[in-house]
Amino acid sequence: MDDIVIAILRSGTPLVYVALAGVIAQRSGIWHLGLEGLMITGACATIVGTVLTGSVGLSLLIAILLCALGSVLFWLVVEILKANQIIAGLGLTGLGLGGTSLAIQAIFGSQGAVSAPAGLPKIGAAFGAYGGLSVLVLAMPFIVFLTWVLLCRTRFGLRLAASGEHPFAARSVGAKPAVMRLVALVIGGAFCALAGAELAAGSLQIFSQNMTAGRGFMGFAAVIFGAGHPIWATFAALFFAIVGAIGIRAQLVFGDRIPHDLLLGLPYIATVFGIWLSARLRGGARGATGGFGELKDP
């Protein structure tokens, strides 16, 4: 039993962080499809940074800075240049995937996987079988709680939500929706960096190209499945992780009788299911957002 829970926490924690980033962006009025790109940037920066500097803490800081920088770029494009959020988000994702692969090539001369000498600190033997988990797993519930307080129990959270839901109302009490979105994206960027760091340096200490494999998009789906609420989105992300863990478990049980490539697809199918279910329960998700830019009437 313990090993399943550990597997779920390992695969679920990055999803939770990235989902929180998506929740914050969503509340401020931005459909953030660039999460995947920021996440892989965080993963790459953590591993490469550790290889080059030897310090995990320093490279985590670099990862956060890079993701914040990417978020500012995204903000400039969608807020100042009014680009379509979906297309620009996919562009940011492409930039992250291509940029990390270019960086690996430039630094190590090949596109193979890079392994780091050290990973994130572990929570230690005091936790018994769970001691091998990283501190970011332990921190996750607290970060979720803090995010909930920030979004749902402070005036800042109200103004952020108003910026997304009714920007004019936000403006008329003196809040500046554009600034709120910048703040939201930068905080989200930091969360994406944590997600990437946990994915790459939480247990494996390896970075390889495209290693996020759609987890950023799943995190985004968790936002929709969780109705933009930090707690519900966390559960949605953990649900995807549980389905993935079941798939891996099924491989052990069924062996070759079920092709393992198809079992790998279970989390993606769960994501589609989640999107479908939330649309059924709450009506089309698109209603809440504009963000179609030129293609749609204002």
């Binding site: 596109q111 490539d261 993606y268 999107i275 089309g284």
Partner: protein
């Protein structure tokens, strides 16, 4: 016409901004920016046979991109061209495998039917989820891409596996020569003919049918056409199916033309590049033809770069991504710039 003209200016300005961003990234990564672009342009359009190579990549991209135009115009963000492309190729490959030994004149058309239908099928379920339940098609089609990628890996490593294959990348048994519609250079009268036919048919559909005008209006404002009595359901489903079918057709062409077999994860950037082409073209069919040629050149340069210039092919991915980041941007400053140019020959 003048509106088109300022749209072209705007697109050009933002593509230049995107390229400057790429240049900065290249510089940081330690590749001299100017030389990189020089090598890309050389690889894309200037070296020997470059135009033919560009065309090889441009033709399938053009077909997929016209499909993207149809769904985007109707307001549906079908990002799943990649998955529909894969599923189309897989279906065609299965038909070719089952009917092995029958004459090409029978098998090839059936492969095309299967490939097109397969692509349409892979667009059908996100379409139904969107139209019946309102499930966002951006996520479902993206997930469809990952699923189709896994399906491709499974097929090439399982049912269609080439036993003699070596190396890490699993691939399917090669197609019989009689079923190939081009050599591996990928440019043949058949393929050109299909592309021209698709281009003309889609131009007619968009500009000269009730569907074309109504789907465009509905894409920009679905509420308004509903208040006029349109069935969003029929227009939407047709858009999904047509865009999926065209991606599947392009997959079939890649299989039966230049590639000749399936390989796990082949042409991973095809769908995203097609989306870009459609957007750069401002969702017009004629523009798509021009943009497809440009991005076809970049795609061919991607293969040439590591060999000749020592650059990773990811450079092209970065250029594509940066263009995606900026292509839908709007700026009053750029509009004003476009207006200055426009003013002399417009009256109103």
């Amino acid at each position: 016409m003048s509106a088109n003209f300022s749209a072209i200016i705007r697109a050009t300005v933002f593509i230049v901004i995107a390229l400057v961003l790429c240049g900065i990234i290249f510089e940081i990564a330690g590749y001299p920016g100017i030389q990189t672009f020089d090598a890309i342009i050389d690889g894309a359009f200037l070296r020997r046979n470059a135009l033919e190579h560009a065309l090889r990549w441009a033709l399938p991209l053009f077909i997929t991109a016209t499909g993207v135009v149809i769904s985007f115009r109707a307001g549906y963000f079908n990002i799943g061209a990649q998955g529909q492309f894969y599923v189309g190729a897989i279906c065609a490959a299965f038909v070719a495998e089952w009917l092995k030994g029958y004459p090409g004149a029978v098998v090839v058309p059936l492969c095309f039917v299967a490939g097109t239908a397969g692509g349409a099928l892979w667009a059908l379920w996100p379409g139904l989820l969107r139209l019946r339940s309102g499930a966002d098609e951006v996520i479902t089609t993206l997930m469809g891409n990952f699923l189709a990628g896994l399906l491709l890996v499974y097929v090439t490593a399982g049912p269609l596996k080439d036993p003699s294959g070596s190396g890490q990348q699993a691939s399917s048994r090669p197609l019989e020569a009689a079923y190939r519609i081009s050599t591996s250079n990928g440019v043949s009268p058949t393929i050109i003919g299909i592309a021209i036919f698709v281009g003309l048919a889609m131009w007619f559909l968009v500009n000269r049918t009730a569907f074309g005008v109504l789907s465009g209006l509905g894409g920009r404002n679905p509420t308004m056409v509903q208040w006029q009595g349109a069935s969003v359901w029929r227009i939407g489903l047709a858009s999904f199916l047509i865009s999926g079918a065209l991606a599947g057709l392009a997959g079939t062409i890649e299989l039966m033309g230049p590639n000749g077999r399936l390989a796990g994860g082949f042409l991973p950037a095809h769908g995203f590049t097609a989306v870009l082409i459609a957007l750069v073209a401002g969702l017009s069919i004629t523009g798509t033809a021009i943009a497809a040629f440009f991005f076809g050149g970049l795609a061919s340069a991607a293969l040439y770069l590591p060999v000749i210039a020592g650059l990773p092919s990811a450079a092209i991915d970065i250029i594509n991504a940066a263009i995606a980041l900026f292509i839908t941007a709007k700026s009053r400053f750029v509009d004003r710039l476009a207006n200055i140019w426009r003013r002399p020959w417009t009256t109103s």
